[in-house]
């Protein structure tokens, strides 16, 4: 049986990989993919806690289902916004979208 802390370490590493991706990428779609990695790290945490801390009410699994549905909405709208930016400015690089920056 794999102890809980192993899963937590796994998801911590995954989360930090995602953070690195979000900070280091300039292509908006790659940033979204990195956000997905972070989201999945969180979901692994939810399910690991659900398995080891509240195994009978499986609250974590239910939360994960809702997180997935919310993630679906998030990536759909996120990509649509990126497409809109691309249509206006011919780029998906976030450092070139600086209209509101001074």
């Amino acid at each position: 049986m794999v102890p809980l802390s192993y899963y937590l370490v796994l998801s911590a590493i995954m989360l930090c990989i995602g953070i690195y991706g979000v900070l280091a990428r300039r292509n908006a779609i790659l940033i979204l993919l990195s956000v997905e990695i972070m989201l999945n790290a969180v979901n692994i945490n939810f399910i690991a806690f659900s398995r080891f801390v509240t195994p009978n009410t499986i609250v974590g699994q239910i939360y994960t289902i809702f997180a997935m549905a919310a993630g679906a909405a998030e990536i759909g709208v996120g990509l649509a916004i990126i497409l809109l930016i691309y249509r206006g400015r011919e780029t998906v690089n976030v450092d070139e979208v600086n209209l509101l920056k001074w």
């Binding site: 794999v2 930090c16 990989i17 779609i29 692994i44 398995r51 195994p55 549905a69 649509a80």
Partner: protein
């Protein structure tokens, strides 16, 4: 080492290397395809955690549907994903800073995770996440979030239809 442990390390290795590949490759399409594999390995982690329904959902929604959607969105842009745009950089100049931030965050997290003693609240596991068990909980205690999810999805759909419509 038990079989579960071996499986965990194999899955964890592929999962983390897939995630690293996504954040480090220069080829966006490769990143998206690797997203498919990484999400499948996340599903494998869920299976190790006895959440088989969530694992199937993960494959269906994250691996299948989202990857397809990201690819469809990528094909609408002609930047780093197309052959001629492949030469422009996909990373910004703050890679070192980003690495430091991520490493610092990781150090804090590892410190917390390894220091804490995690106690089960409900004793030994009696049930795994069977579909009907889960359904019973969603449709009794979590009805409101469930209905709100539908509104959220509706908002996303309407938003996308509005955002992607051609002005003519």
């Amino acid at each position: 080492m038990s079989g579960q442990m071996v499986a965990f390390f194999i899955i964890g290795f592929f999962l983390l290397s897939g995630a690293l590949y996504i954040v480090s490759t220069r080829n966006i399409m490769h990143a998206v395809f690797m997203h498919l594999l990484t999400m499948s390995f996340v599903a494998a982690v869920y299976i190790l955690l006895y959440a088989e329904f969530i694992a199937a959902m993960q494959v269906l929604i994250y691996a299948g549907a989202m990857t397809t959607m990201v690819i469809f969105a990528l094909m609408l842009t002609r930047t780093q994903s197309s052959p001629e745009g492949m030469r422009t950089a996909v990373d910004n100049q703050q890679k070192g800073l980003a690495f430091l931030t991520a490493a610092g965050f990781l150090a804090i997290l590892l410190f917390v995770v390894t220091r804490e003693k995690w106690v089960p609240l409900e004793g030994v596991a009696k049930s795994t996440g069977s579909v009907s068990h889960m359904g019973g909980i969603i449709f009794s205690a979590y009805v409101l979030p469930f209905e709100l999810i539908s509104v959220l999805l509706l908002a996303a759909l309407v938003g996308v239809v509005v955002l992607t419509r051609k002005e003519n």
